[in-house]
Structures are given as structure tokens and as C-alpha cells.
């Protein structure tokens, strides 16, 4: 798996979350080119988070209204209904407004979604990976409405069930890192996929290292995300 492919995945993940934002009313995304097969696969992996975000927005209010239809999202499914009420208040509240703010918000989003990696059979966070988390921390603290999901993954070695447990401990360790530094516990959920959703299919140390990872999804508050001041 090349670095460029990693970048592609990240881009598409971001795009899928933009689709979630569209579902919540902020429909200003530019048309996107047709996805490659890899992008489609990545978008499929991300679509769950988009649907979950829309669904949680739906649960948050009592008077559902029809969702605006995204017109420029070939790789994503039709989102679940959301509400104008939520979206409007959100945009009117703390969301980015100017072009500069939007660019800064996108940078914050990218930092928030950046993966971290682990050593073999370990849930400890190494010093260099701690720096990746430290870049997310001010964003989380500046965006109290943002909720994230951390998914823990392992490489293909070892027993399947052991790896599901290990992925959970990895995700929990990252959550602990944030909650110990002031992020509310109820803003972070953790999930393990063990070895079930590898990023790359190789059977060598390079592939294993890429698959031993923690991923981040924004499950709520994405539309209000802004860069820390």
C-alpha cells in the first residue's frame, strides 16, 4: 500500500463525512469526479459513519423533516433523513462562515481524522503517535459538540478473537488519552474491528504496520467543526 493510496482513503473519508454534512443542511459541496474502485471501497467503509451521523441527528430532535438531497456524491448512498432545524441552528451557531474559516475548519477536520499506528500486539501509544493525538486535542476541546468514534484495528497475525479484543484496547487507550486531558467521556465511543477490516491486504511487515491502527470518525457535530482559536 503506497502513501498515495493512504492519502486517497483519507480524502474519500473526508468526502463521505462531507456528505453527512450535506444531509444536515450545509449543502455547498462542489461536484466531485467519479470515484476509482479504491475510492468506492473506501467510501463504502465510510458510509456507515455518514449514516450514523445523520441518524443520530435525527434522534436528537422531535420533529423530523425531509432531508435535502445531495446532488454531487456519486460514491455515497442517500443519507437518512435529518432535520433543517438542527442544521440551521448549528450553522447559525458556531460553524465556520468565511472562506478562511472554512479552510481552517477543513484542516482541523483532516487533523482530527488522521490515523495513528501501533506496535505488534501492543496498545501503548508511542511518542511519535502521541504527537498525532496532541494535534487533535485542541480541536476536540474547541468543538464541544463534536463527537467521535475511534475504531481499533490489528494486523492479520494472531487469533481472530484475540485481535478483536486487542483492537478494542487500542481504541480505549486512545480514548483514555483524550479523556485524561479534558475531553468529555460521552463524546468518544470506541469500536474494535480486530483484523476484519484491513487497510491493505499484504502479508509483510510493511502491510502489518499499516493495519495496526486507530481510525477516527466524526459521528456528530461535524457541521459545526471549526479550527481552534
Amino acid at each position: 500500500m503506497s502513501a498515495s493510496m493512504t492519502q486517497t482513503y483519507r480524502t474519500v473519508s473526508t468526502r463521505a463525512i462531507l456528505v453527512a454534512s450535506l444531509a444536515l443542511g450545509a449543502c455547498r459541496a462542489k461536484p466531485t469526479p467519479g470515484p476509482t474502485p479504491q475510492q468506492q471501497a473506501a467510501a463504502r467503509a465510510a458510509q456507515d459513519s455518514a449514516a450514523a451521523a445523520a441518524a443520530s441527528a435525527k434522534r436528537a430532535v422531535e420533529t423530523p423533516a425531509p432531508a435535502p438531497q445531495p446532488t454531487s456524491a456519486p460514491a455515497a448512498p442517500a443519507p437518512a433523513p435529518a432535520t433543517r432545524a438542527t442544521a440551521t441552528s448549528a450553522v447559525a451557531g458556531t460553524g465556520p462562515v468565511t472562506a478562511d474559516e472554512r479552510r481552517a475548519a477543513e484542516a482541523a477536520r483532516t487533523a482530527l481524522l488522521e490515523r495513528i499506528y501501533f506496535a505488534y500486539d501492543a496498545d501503548e501509544i508511542s511518542a511519535d503517535q502521541r504527537a498525532v493525538l496532541d494535534a487533535k486535542l485542541p480541536i476536540l476541546l474547541a468543538n464541544p459538540r463534536v463527537r467521535i468514534r475511534i475504531t481499533g484495528h490489528t494486523d492479520e497475525r494472531g487469533a481472530d478473537e484475540y485481535n478483536l479484543a486487542l483492537g478494542q484496547r487500542r481504541a480505549a487507550g486512545v480514548k483514555r488519552y483524550f479523556t485524561a486531558r479534558g475531553v468529555g467521556e460521552d463524546r468518544i465511543e470506541t469500536v474494535s474491528f480486530g483484523r476484519e477490516r484491513p487497510l491493505t491486504a499484504g502479508h509483510d511487515e510493511d502491510s502489518w504496520a499499516k493495519n495496526r491502527r486507530g481510525e477516527f470518525e466524526i459521528v456528530a457535530g461535524s457541521e459545526t467543526l471549526r479550527a481552534p482559536r
Binding site: 459513519s49 494472531g158 479484543a165 478494542q168 480505549a172 474494535s192
Partner: protein
């Protein structure tokens, strides 16, 4: 033609040769036996079956007795014996200690007769109901049940052919008959991992994987209904039923994974079994009395197999840690007779299936070809299924732990997480 092919054998064996020569192996031109035969297993000849689907029934009976690894099935290469009066002397000549005769009755029953060749008499007769459409899954299962009964008549040990194996492929749960027939996805389930049979054979518990994580589901295979087990926070994986069928134990948690137990009936919240203090504890398997659980834990920093009482007391390290580079032992499966636990241990960059005796804690390595993982005992405590990559990709294999004869069960690729059912047809009264 059959009779014509057999005639020379009849003449040679029964008429021409004197008794002293007949006693020698070299004269048994039609004796096939099996290459792995130890010589102590009784030879069994399965006669041609009369009635509908005769060839299929004979093939299934023969294969079942062969796969049971307790008798030596004699192939009819020299032709089949003539119908009519049974020439016990002839069957003795070709090495048969027992003769199985089956026929379909006009009422649709499978009528099976077992002859003791040396005593020259019938020793057992039974009729087996044949449910479902001919050649269908339940019909085949009924033939398997007859085979298992015949094996019991001959050896005193019931066969294990009336069973199925659940496994996982691409996060779909599959079911396959013990002989490789009827491999198919179990319909109506989500992304599934770690299937585990209820001792009744009617229910299966498994780990379902959704976007927001994993939870435990109990599926009624007969009614086609599912029920989600009360979950604990975080991940919920590796369920197993107790042998008495009353308790479900699984692994769950967010910051550290512990074992939890919950009653199978009702909605009582799960009770924590292990105190892992942030370590991971999973892959439980019950002792036959439903009072103890073996499981994998990394509480010492690497995976080993432990045993605990199901109330959480008396925790004991089972697999001894010795000095080695990457100790890693996991996926225990307790034999139904309680005598040994199978597990996987890291070796040479892969895994091998091991057993450890509960009496003296002696271990033995059962596999060496490729990487072999995740053993599950069959109901006879002699055969097991496991995942192996020896054919080039992960498939489910069956191993006879006494002769080390193995056979590939699945042909679909990327198969893993196999679980051998209990016997699915009750023995005849």
C-alpha cells in the same frame, strides 16, 4: 456383471484354496483396507443397497464408517457378492468382521441389518425414518444417523456423521455437513464471527459486527429468529454456551476485555467473571460440568490459556510459560469428556494445534503442515475441525487425533472460525 466379476473370487476363496493358504494375507486379493490402518480395526463390508437411491445410500454409509476411523471399510473392488443366502465364509475371506445390509422399505424407511461374520448371524436390525425430500439435507442427515448407529453396534462408540460444522467466510456464517455436503450461507444474519452451538443443536450464538461495534446474537436455526444478548460497553465477542445449555459466557468491555456470563433465558444483565484489570480475556470454553471455563488471557503480557470457575474464583494458568521468543497460546476448546483442552500455539511464525491433558498437563502437538488454528472438538472427542492454510489458503480441515488422518472439509476459501455441532439426530431408542 456383478456376479460375473465376483465368481472368480468365490471360486478362489471358497472352493479352490485350502484352509491353510486362506489364512494368509497374500490370498486376500480383494482386501483393500486403508493405508493408515493399524490392523486392529474390524473390517466392514457395506452390501449393495436395494430400493430407491440405493447407490447414494451405500456411498454415504460407506464414507461415514470410513470417516469415523474406527472400522476398516472394505471396498468392493472385486465385485459385489451375489444376492440371496449370505456366504459368511466369503466375507471372512475378504477380511470383513461385519456386514452391513441396507434397503429402502416400501413405507420409506431405511432398513439396516448388521451381520457378525465370524458368528454367521444377524446381530442388529433397525428401521430409520427418512424425512424430507430424497437426497435433501434432512434425508442425508437421516442416513448419517443410521451410519452412526451402525458404528455404535460394531464398536460401542457412536459415530459423529449426523453433525454439521458452522464456520465464517467473509464475515458470513456458513454451515456444512460433516462430510462436506450442503455447504451454504446461513440465511438472515448480519456480519458474523465466532459461531458457537447450543448443546441442543437448535440455537447458535455468534458475534455480530455492525458499524457501531460488536454484539452477541442468539439465533434460533429452526424458527429463523434472532435475539440480541444484553451487551456490555465496548466490544462484545466470542460467545459460548455452557454444556447444560443454561448459561452464555462471552467476552466484552471497553477498557480491558473480561468474560461475562448471562442466563440464556431471560434478560438478566451480564455478570462479570474475570477481573482482568485492563488486560484482555476472551475465547471461553466450558468444562463438561458447566462449572469451569478455560479462556485466553494476556494478563501476563502475552496470550496464555487459563481456567476459572464460572463464578470468577480459582483462576489458574493452564499453559505453562516456558522460555521462548513469542509465547502465544489461545483459542482453547475443552473436550466433551473433560480430559483435554485443544488450543493453538505459536510456532515457526505460524500456529499449530496442541492439546493439553487436564490430568498431568502434558501437551502434544497435533499438526505440523502449514499454519493451523482454532480447534473445535467433534462430539466423539476424537475428531476435531480447525483452520489450516496448508492447501494455500485458509480452509476448514478435519483431523482424527488418534491416527492423524486429516481431510479438507471446505472448498470455498477464506474459511475460518469453525465450530462442530453436537449430534443433530437423537439416537434410536
Amino acid at each position: 456383471m456383478t456376479l460375473r466379476r465376483l465368481l472368480p473370487v468365490v471360486l478362489a476363496a471358497a472352493i479352490v484354496l485350502p484352509a491353510t493358504v486362506r489364512a494368509q494375507d497374500t490370498t486376500r486379493s480383494v482386501r483393500i483396507g486403508l493405508t493408515y490402518a493399524s490392523g486392529t480395526r474390524p473390517g466392514v463390508f457395506v452390501s449393495p443397497v436395494s430400493g430407491t437411491h440405493a447407490d447414494t445410500i451405500r456411498a454415504i454409509l460407506s464414507r461415514d464408517l470410513d470417516y469415523g476411523d474406527r472400522v476398516s471399510v472394505i471396498a468392493p473392488d472385486g465385485g459385489d457378492p451375489p444376492a440371496g443366502v449370505i456366504n459368511y465364509g466369503l466375507f471372512g475371506q475378504i477380511g470383513a468382521a461385519a456386514l452391513v445390509q441396507a434397503s429402502m422399505t416400501p413405507a420409506g424407511l431405511l432398513h439396516v441389518v448388521l451381520h457378525d461374520v465370524s458368528a454367521a448371524r444377524v446381530i442388529n436390525v433397525a428401521d430409520f425414518p427418512m424425512p424430507g425430500p430424497a437426497l435433501g439435507p434432512e434425508w442425508r442427515m437421516a442416513v448419517h444417523a443410521a451410519s452412526d448407529e451402525v458404528e455404535y453396534w460394531i464398536t460401542g462408540q457412536r459415530g459423529l456423521s449426523a453433525t454439521r460444522i458452522l464456520f465464517v467466510r467473509n464475515q458470513k456464517m456458513w454451515s456444512v455437513d460433516y462430510d462436506g455436503a450442503n455447504a451454504a450461507v446461513v440465511p438472515g444474519l448480519g456480519a458474523a464471527l465466532s459461531p458457537a452451538w447450543h448443546p441442543s443443536g437448535r440455537y447458535v450464538a455468534y458475534c455480530e459486527m455492525a458499524a457501531d461495534g460488536t454484539h452477541i446474537v442468539i439465533r434460533d436455526l429452526v424458527a429463523g429468529t434472532s435475539r440480541q444478548v444484553a451487551r456490555v460497553g465496548g466490544t462484545n465477542i466470542s460467545p459460548v454456551f455452557s454444556p447444560d445449555g443454561k448459561t452464555l459466557v462471552f467476552a466484552g468491555g471497553e477498557d480491558g476485555i473480561d468474560l461475562f456470563s448471562a442466563p440464556v433465558v431471560g434478560n438478566d444483565p451480564p455478570i462479570r467473571v474475570t477481573v482482568g484489570r485492563g488486560s484482555q480475556n476472551m475465547s471461553p470454553t466450558f468444562s463438561p460440568d458447566s462449572r469451569r471455563v478455560a479462556f485466553t488471557s494476556n494478563r501476563l503480557g502475552h496470550a496464555e490459556v487459563y481456567i476459572t470457575d464460572v463464578d470468577g474464583t480459582n483462576v489458574d494458568l493452564l499453559t505453562t510459560t516456558v522460555t521462548e521468543r513469542n509465547p502465544y497460546r489461545s483459542n482453547p476448546d475443552w473436550s466433551h469428556d473433560g480430559r483435554r483442552i485443544a488450543y493453538q500455539a505459536q510456532a515457526d511464525g505460524g500456529f499449530q494445534v496442541m492439546t493439553i491433558s487436564l490430568r498431568d498437563r502434558l501437551t502434544s502437538q497435533l499438526t505440523s503442515d502449514g499454519s493451523n488454528e482454532d480447534p473445535s472438538w467433534g462430539p466423539d472427542d476424537r475428531h476435531m475441525v480447525f483452520t489450516s492454510n496448508r492447501s494455500g489458503e485458509n480452509q476448514i480441515w478435519v483431523l482424527d487425533t488418534e491416527t492423524f488422518r486429516s481431510r479438507q472439509l471446505t472448498r470455498v476459501g477464506s474459511a475460518r472460525m469453525s465450530s462442530w455441532s453436537p449430534r443433530l439426530v437423537s439416537p434410536k431408542q
